[in-house]
């Protein structure tokens, strides 16, 4: 076969290799997943463009509170606590969003709040949304879950500002 064919093939191979690399990088760009960090302020400046009311109220709800693929009740969103803050203990200062499905607290790596606390159990407690607001439930931990001096035995409703203690960690629901 002619020399031209070989040259075309040889350069074509280099082009194809690079096209493959570029295709892979293209897929990488469209394949971002995991967590997305959005500045809160991003939604606010759009106020000057008129928008349908429903759309606007959805945008004002913080993204952390919006479960994927489900509508949020805009009325309760303004009053309900939406995150959990660690007040004291090894993780003091940490805060994480509450999820309606419930978040698990304990030393096990599967928990939403992984306690580095020798006095906490693997699956220590759960905070979830009951029919009348947020509820904390002890999951049979060794050292117990406390609100004030009282050790929890059943699922107990909590409001924003109530201090809940697991081992040496104290957390609080925040708005």
């Amino acid at each position: 076969m002619s020399e031209l064919t070989i040259t075309v093939m040889r350069l074509g191979l280099l082009v194809a290799l690079w096209a493959f690399v570029i295709a892979v990088v293209g897929v990488l760009r469209g394949d971002l997943y995991g967590t997305q960090v959005t500045p809160r302020r991003a939604a606010a400046p759009r106020g000057n463009t008129p928008r349908p009311a429903a759309r606007g109220s959805a945008a004002s709800v913080p993204a952390e509170q919006r479960p994927v693929g489900r509508r949020i009740n805009a009325r309760s969103a303004s009053r309900d606590p939406n995150h959990l803050r660690v007040m004291s203990g090894p993780l003091a200062g940490t805060s994480l969003p509450l999820r309606e499905a419930g978040i698990l607290i304990g030393r096990s790596p599967e928990s939403a709040l992984v306690l580095e606390d020798d006095f906490a159990s693997g699956r220590h407690a759960r905070i979830f949304k009951g029919p009348d607001g947020w509820v904390v439930e002890d999951l049979g931990s060794t050292n117990g879950t406390f609100i004030g001096p009282q050790r929890l035995t059943t699922a107990t409703p909590v409001t924003a500002g109530t201090e809940i203690r697991f081992g040496t960690t104290v957390v609080e629901l925040r708005r």
Binding site: M9, R10, L13, L14, L17, V21, Q36, T38, E64
Partner: protein, 460 residues
């Protein structure tokens, strides 16, 4: 103030299919290119070899659709392309050395690829969840160290070209160090998940580094002694560096403490320096590295020099597949496959190959970030890092960045044990990434079984 929200990923199986077709097409183009350039016609074996390659790829892809639908769509196409290009280059060297297809290395490499892909498919089917591996942490440790030291067993180990890293059972020879890499990654991941709290507790802070307590130095010293043992007894710098580097990197990932890296580098530096003083085979490697073109070095071995000359003659665009003389270098199909590619597809092509490795490693590390359990994170990061380190050692060795050591380029080099190990590694990464990218089941969603009414059944 910022908010954090979870984004779920798309499955990407169709993307994978598209890229796989692209990869197979590139391999076919390269194969035809070799045939045309060497023999002047489209090689008659294209149909047979191409069908074999296509069947392996298709089988793997179908397994992915059935068993790991959420796995990363990029890992498999990249590995397939690299494996295919390796096959093309080995076939090209067969032609240059006048070996027919039946007796050549390319067909054997294709069979090993099929076997390796089969093993990876089996691993994906059998291993439904990578966390099962954590149960076998200490067994993996024992097997890993056993495999690493197996070539030292008299009667089993064989010394080839100065390194005692092979074992021979009957007609089969095998490099257990390649498999040990994966098994040890499992062990390190399981071990460090348990002990990382102890290893990352506050120590004394000196010169901006938080140094660990003396009693926590145990594991790193054991790993160091073993790697020095491999270096001294098996005379293999490559496996020793790979093994120790893997441990230090995983230790760093597990504890987030830079001091471990500093201690590791220091220990490794001391080990190398002492080895250079004491052992002649290390001195020879250093001489070849620093004065490659001196008379003394060329009398010892001109392999490195020939590889460099080959790459130089390839230049920017390369001579074209089939038009260079890569067969002049010894081990052009295994340790020196990178110079072979450098000569024939040039710097531009070689950089595309290296980028493919970078992307493969990136996908592994991305999997580690996405993984939700500590063991999976460490395992994925360790496996990805081992690929990166191995590429660095091989490419650095043939380009005179570091002394040349005998490691194989993952997927590209000729060699059955290397293919088996690297395809298994890919299967593990795919399994972890499938788990990492699977959407979290929503506990609030009604469970179809729970919502069923309980039925009263009469027992008698």
């Amino acid at each position: 103030m910022t908010t954090v929200s979870a984004l779920s990923s798309r499955k990407g199986r169709n993307v994978e299919l598209g890229l796989l077709v692209f990869a197979v097409a590139i391999v076919a183009l390269a194969y035809i290119n070799v045939g045309v350039a060497v023999e002047g016609a489209v090689p008659p074996s294209l149909v047979a070899v191409g069908t074999g390659f296509l069947v392996i790829t298709a089988a793997f892809h179908i397994t992915m659709r059935l068993r790991a639908p959420y796995a990363d769509p990029l890992i498999l196409p990249i590995a397939t392309l690299l494996n295919g290009l390796g096959l093309v280059m080995i076939n090209r060297l067969d032609l240059a050395n006048d070996r027919s297809l039946a007796e050549g290395m390319a067909l054997r490499q294709l069979m090993w690829s099929a076997l390796a892909a089969g093993l990876a498919i089996a691993a994906l089917i059998i291993l439904r969840d990578h966390r099962i591996l954590r149960r076998y942490t200490y067994l993996a440790g024992a097997i890993g160290f056993g495999l690493l030291l197996l070539p030292l067993v008299p009667g089993l180990g064989v010394e080839n070209y100065g390194s005692r890293i092979w074992i021979a059972v009957g007609p089969f020879s095998f490099q257990p160090g390649e498999i040990a890499k994966i098994v040890l990654a499992v062990f390190f991941a399981g071990y460090l998940v348990q002990t990382r709290d102890a290893l990352s507790v506050a120590g004394r802070r000196i010169l901006g580094l938080t140094l660990p307590r003396a009693r926590d130095l145990g594991p790193i010293l054991v790993a160091w002694m073993l790697s020095v043992g491999v270096l001294v007894l098996e005379k293999d710098l490559g496996s020793s560096l790979l093994f120790f580097g893997l441990f230090v990197a995983m230790l760093y990932i597990a504890t987030e403490r830079t001091s471990w890296v500093a201690i590791g580098l220091l220990l490794f530096g001391v080990g190398c320096w002492v080895a250079n003083l004491l052992f002649s085979h290390v001195q020879r490697r250093v001489l070849l590295w620093l004065d490659t073109f001196s008379r003394e070095a060329l009398d010892t071995s001109d392999q490195l020099a020939r590889g460099l000359m080959g790459m130089a003659s390839g230049g920017m665009l390369g001579t074209g597949l089939g038009r260079g003389r890569p067969e002049l270098t010894y081990f052009a199909e295994s340790d020196f496959i990178i110079p072979s590619f450098g000569e024939e597809i040039g710097l531009i092509g070689l950089f595309a190959l290296l980028l493919l490795y970078v992307l493969l490693v990136e996908r592994g590390l991305r999997t580690a970030i996405g993984a939700r359990d500590g063991f999976g994170k460490l395992l994925a990061a360790g496996l990805a890092f081992s690929v990166a380190l191995q590429c660095f050692v091989v490419v650095g060795g043939v380009t005179r960045v570091i002394p040349l050591t005998g490691l194989t380029m993952p997927f590209l080099s000729q060699g059955g044990s290397s293919l088996l190990a690297n395809w298994t590694l890919v299967a593990l990464l795919l399994r972890i990434s499938d788990h990492a990218r699977r959407p979290v089941p929503d506990p609030a969603a009604p469970n179809p079984v729970a919502s069923e009414e309980t039925q009263v059944v009469k027992v008698r």
